[in-house]
Structures are given as structure tokens and as C-alpha cells.
Symmetry: C2
Subunit: 331 residues, 2 copies
């Protein structure tokens, strides 16, 4: 195999905020694919907030990354060598062995680049998109008339969750972390209201939702969750998707002090992980693919150039909200 | 009408722990019942933790008690005068206008004292019993093989929740607030394990449930909820019924610092209020009435004598866990 592949390995488990020194750039020769394998030249790799959890030791919902081993996650690219009966050279595929230039994989999913560019299959048509779809419809059980609040509204998941709710006729309120993001949420994503959480969540949410909210799609945790519990109407539902505000915490972050509202307002808080919901991919693709084809969905990507060496900083920046829409590294 | 009735009125809204001075003993003449009304001479009245919330001003799931007006809640007694077509003198009925010796009511439920003494219809066969049943089966969605943790296990609700789970074949762990209660939970209620929460919740729960828990029936909130989140297995469920540990809090109590476990373990936390679930009364009565008839359910009552004047202190003591099983005042 004529390829060498640069990759990012975990050098040390981050304490609090990840540092560049927690990552190590390395290189390896790419072996010929064995039977049932293929080699993919990656075009884009994904950095996602959930990866922060995998950098910690110990039990999580996924096995932790191993020190000295390459990181992994979503990537999309072209098959350049295949001993896999269902894939041929030239296929564009999504797979889960990113953080490297060439990936040798046994399982992948072909993507339809007539529908959207390959990068979209890491975002609006990929894992973040399915997360938004499942969280809103299955976990939060969206019902007619619900007022929906989405945090991280300019992010890969939140931007789609809000747009799906809008397209289904709901009033949608979003929060994000800068004036520019708020403009994007209002002007491009057509949320009904949006605010910068740096100016306080509780008061602004109350102003935006004077009659309360029925669904909260939580990407953020912390102060946002407490404010949402205060504003939820009776029988409201929270899809607990992520908590980026606390992923770098070095001591246990405060929990919502008003958790008793769950009893008094008969709320349902439900956590979920998209990988449990692969069965919903066809329905998701049909609905969201349809919106895309009709031009009814906007999706933004924040693409970082510089290849694999740029990935650690892209990930660090992601945790600070440097992205609008899906954060990707171009390889 | 030849009756005068003593009653307890709300003198002031408690700040933190209720004080005797927050209550006022008063007397009134009982008028003849109007058409559609009946007069009940109450034999027992209930004091329940939820009443603490109604003593506060402002929005809750129920209208607050009014200052200067009598309190109300579950009571059982005998109809002594009726202008109601479905009730006759001598009927034994449960109704919601307790905290007084005689109640003039328009709606009540006849009880079958061949099944259990009248007082039981304020406990094991009444609102607390239905709460346990609905919380365990409908809210927590009890499933085969679930390991169940119940806090407030010696209380009116917890004692029945644990016993229903046991009778359905589950491993059941309970917490309560004294060595005597723990003995009761183990010896009379036949829980598999039980511990005194004063000696710490997290460690004792881990010892009692080395393989984790699947359902947590929360009557207590606070530290218990945090410990349960830590021990819940993937796809675990929490029936959030009450939070007696924080009802007297004068500042917002800390929330569970590990709330992110709801995401990583795909937990469902669901609050409920029994009055939303009256449709389950027939199924509840059939199952739990059957257990009672067969002698398979133990139920304890803590009965306070002294009549209506003793009710405020009984309520105050209830919030300190003075009861084992259902707390009642004999009128």
C-alpha cells in the first residue's frame, strides 16, 4: 500500500479543558486491506462535543479512548482500496474511524452526494442530524402546539432540531453564544426568538416564552437546564442530549436546584444517545432529506483547514463554541 | 344542625419548618346540608407531606391554602346527614375536606370496610396506595428483572411501592430514617435490603445494589436522588413522587450534581401527581385489595390521638419522619 497516514493519538487524559499537549500527531503506514476491509482516504473528519467524555478514564456510555492510541469518530471519504464485497473504489462513505488521513474499516455507509455534499453526511444528514430528529420526535415526543426551546441553537444538533420543529409548525426559541450566532439563528434558521445566553438565560427565556415552554432540547446542561425547568409547562418534556457547559468541569457542577419542578409540573426528563436509535435512520433521511431537496433547511459548516494536525485545536475550539453549525476538519 | 365542628385554619404561611403558630384552632356551626351535599363526621384525617407545598403562596400543582381558611386533605368518616342522592346516613366515606371534625361535602367515595378498616382508605387503599401503584407501574414502567430502590421505605407510599415490587418478584432495596424503621422494612415488609440514610446513602446503596438499580422510586429528593442517579443502570427509570427532604428548605436546595448521568445512561426521570391518575383506581384496588385479602401486604399506621387540635403537631412531626406507615389523626 503506497500510503502513509497521519493521525492524532491521545497523549494524556485532559484535566478540565483539553490542551494541545494532550494530543500527539503520529504517522503510520497503511497496510493492504484484509478480506472484508477497505481503505478510505478521508476528506473530512468530525469533531464532536461527546468526544470530550471519551477522553476521560472510566465507565461512560462508550469505552474511553486509550492513551497512545488514535482517537476516532465520524469521517467521510473515498474508498481507495477495497476487499469488501459491498464497497468499491470510488465509493464515498461515512465511517467511525476519523482523526486520521486514511482509515481501514470493516463497516461504513455509502452516501448519496447527489443529495448533498459529502461533508453534510457528518452533519445535517449524519449523526448530529439524526440526534436532532430522534431527540425532538422520539425522546421529547413533540406534540401539536408545543412551544420548543433549543439550547446550542447554532450548533450542529440544535440548528436542525429547531428547524424541524419550525417546519412542523411550532414556535421555537433558541439560545446561542454570540450576537453573530443569534443573527444566524433568527435570519437563516428562522427561529421565532433567540438570545445570547451570556446575558442570562432565565430572564431572556421568560421574555421569549411568556406562556412557558413545552419541550426543551438540552445540548448545554447547567444554568440552561435550571432555567428551562422553571419555564416548562405542566407535562413538559426535556430531551437531554448533551451538556457542553460542563464537559470540562473539574469538580461536580451544580445540579438544577429546582429539580422538584419535575414532580410539581409532572415533567419528563429523558436522556438519549443517538447510537441506540439507528432504526430511525430511514425515517430521518426521508423527512430531512426531503426538506433539503426542497431547500427548506439551512445548514452551516465551520470548516477548519490544515488537515489532521489542526484537529486537536479544532476540538478545543469547539468546546468554546467557535463553530456555527457543524464543526469539521478538512483533511 | 346540632353540631359544632372544630377545624384547623392556616394562620400564617410557614417559613421553613412549620411552627404551631402557623395554625389556628377554630370552631364553627355545621349548617344543614343543601341539596347534593352531605355532612360527614370524620373518624380520621390524613396528614401528608404534599400539604407543605400548599402552605406556600404562589403557583404549585394545586391552589395554595388560604390564610384564615381551613386546611383540607383526605379524611374518612360516617355520613350523619345527607341530601345527596347517592349517599345515606351511616355510609362510610372518604373525601377531601379533612382538618375538621365535620365536613360538608358534595363528592366522596364510599369505602368497603369489610376489606379493611376505614383508616386504611386514607393509606394503603387510598391516595398513598394509588400513588405507589401508579408510580411503580405507570411512571417507572416496572419491567421483569428490575432491581428497585425505594426511599421513604417505611412511609405510607414507599412501604407499599416496595411490597408491590416484591410481590411481583423484584429485588427491592429501601432506605428509611431509623433503626426501628429499618427493622420494620426488613422484617414486616420483606424488602431484600434496607439502610438508615443517616449513615450515608451513596455507599450503602452501592453495597445493597452491587449490580446497580433499574428503578428508583423517589419520595425524598436531595442526596437520595443524586445517589440513585449514580447507581442506576442504563435505561433506568426514576418515578419522582416527592422530595420530603427539601420541603422545608428556605433557600434552593442543591440539585443533583451528576444530572449528566441522565444522558450517559439514557435515564428517564418522570414526575407525577396521583390525582392525574384516578383512572387507575380500579386496577389498583383489584391488585392491592387482592393482596390485602390474601394477607400478603403489611401496612402500619401511626395514629395520633387528641383530635383536631393535635393535627398541626402531627403534620410537623410527619415532616421529621415521626411516622411509620401512614400518619393519621384520630378525630
Amino acid at each position: 500500500m503506497p500510503y502513509t497516514s497521519r493521525e492524532i493519538r491521545l497523549a494524556a487524559r485532559p484535566t478540565g479543558e483539553p490542551q494541545p499537549s494532550d494530543f500527539q500527531l503520529a504517522e503510520r503506514e497503511v497496510a493492504d486491506p484484509a478480506d472484508g476491509e477497505m481503505v478510505v482516504r478521508n476528506a473530512f473528519m468530525s469533531v464532536d462535543p461527546y468526544m470530550r467524555g471519551r477522553m476521560n478514564a472510566g465507565r461512560s456510555y462508550a469505552a474511553p479512548y486509550e492513551i497512545g492510541e488514535p482517537l476516532y469518530g465520524g469521517a467521510v471519504g473515498e474508498v481507495v482500496a477495497s476487499h469488501h464485497e459491498r464497497f468499491a473504489e470510488g465509493d464515498i462513505v461515512v465511517h467511525q474511524l476519523g482523526w486520521r488521513e486514511y482509515s481501514t474499516v470493516r463497516s461504513a455507509k455509502k452516501v448519496d452526494t447527489s443529495l448533498a455534499p459529502a461533508s453534510a453526511f457528518l452533519g445535517v444528514l449524519g449523526m448530529p442530524g439524526l440526534t436532532a430528529y430522534v431527540g425532538l420526535l422520539d425522546i421529547a415526543q413533540l406534540r401539536d402546539g408545543d412551544v420548543v426551546f433549543v439550547s446550542g441553537a447554532a450548533g450542529a444538533v440544535g440548528s436542525l432540531a429547531g428547524q424541524i420543529a419550525k417546519l412542523r409548525g411550532h414556535r421555537v426559541i433558541g439560545s446561542a453564544g454570540s450576537a453573530e450566532k443569534i443573527r444566524h439563528v433568527l435570519d437563516d434558521l428562522h427561529f421565532d426568538a433567540a438570545f445570547d445566553y451570556h446575558d442570562g438565560v432565565a430572564d431572556q427565556l421568560e421574555q421569549a416564552a411568556p406562556d412557558g415552554i413545552d419541550v426543551y432540547f438540552d445540548n448545554v446542561g447547567g444554568e440552561h437546564l435550571e432555567a428551562a425547568l422553571a419555564r416548562l409547562n405542566n407535562f413538559g418534556r426535556v430531551a437531554m442530549c448533551g451538556a457542553i457547559s460542563v464537559y470540562n468541569a473539574t469538580s461536580p457542577p451544580p445540579g438544577p436546584r429546582n429539580i422538584f419542578q419535575v414532580v410539581s409540573k409532572r415533567l419528563t426528563l429523558r436522556g438519549f444517545i443517538v447510537s441506540d436509535h439507528a432504526d430511525r435512520h430511514p425515517a430521518f433521511t426521508q423527512e430531512v432529506g426531503g426538506y433539503l431537496r426542497e431547500g427548506r433547511i439551512a445548514f452551516r459548516e465551520t470548516i477548519v483547514d490544515g488537515g489532521v494536525p489542526a484537529a486537536p485545536q479544532a476540538f478545543i475550539d469547539l468546546l468554546h463554541g467557535a463553530n456555527t453549525g457543524k464543526m469539521l476538519v478538512r483533511l
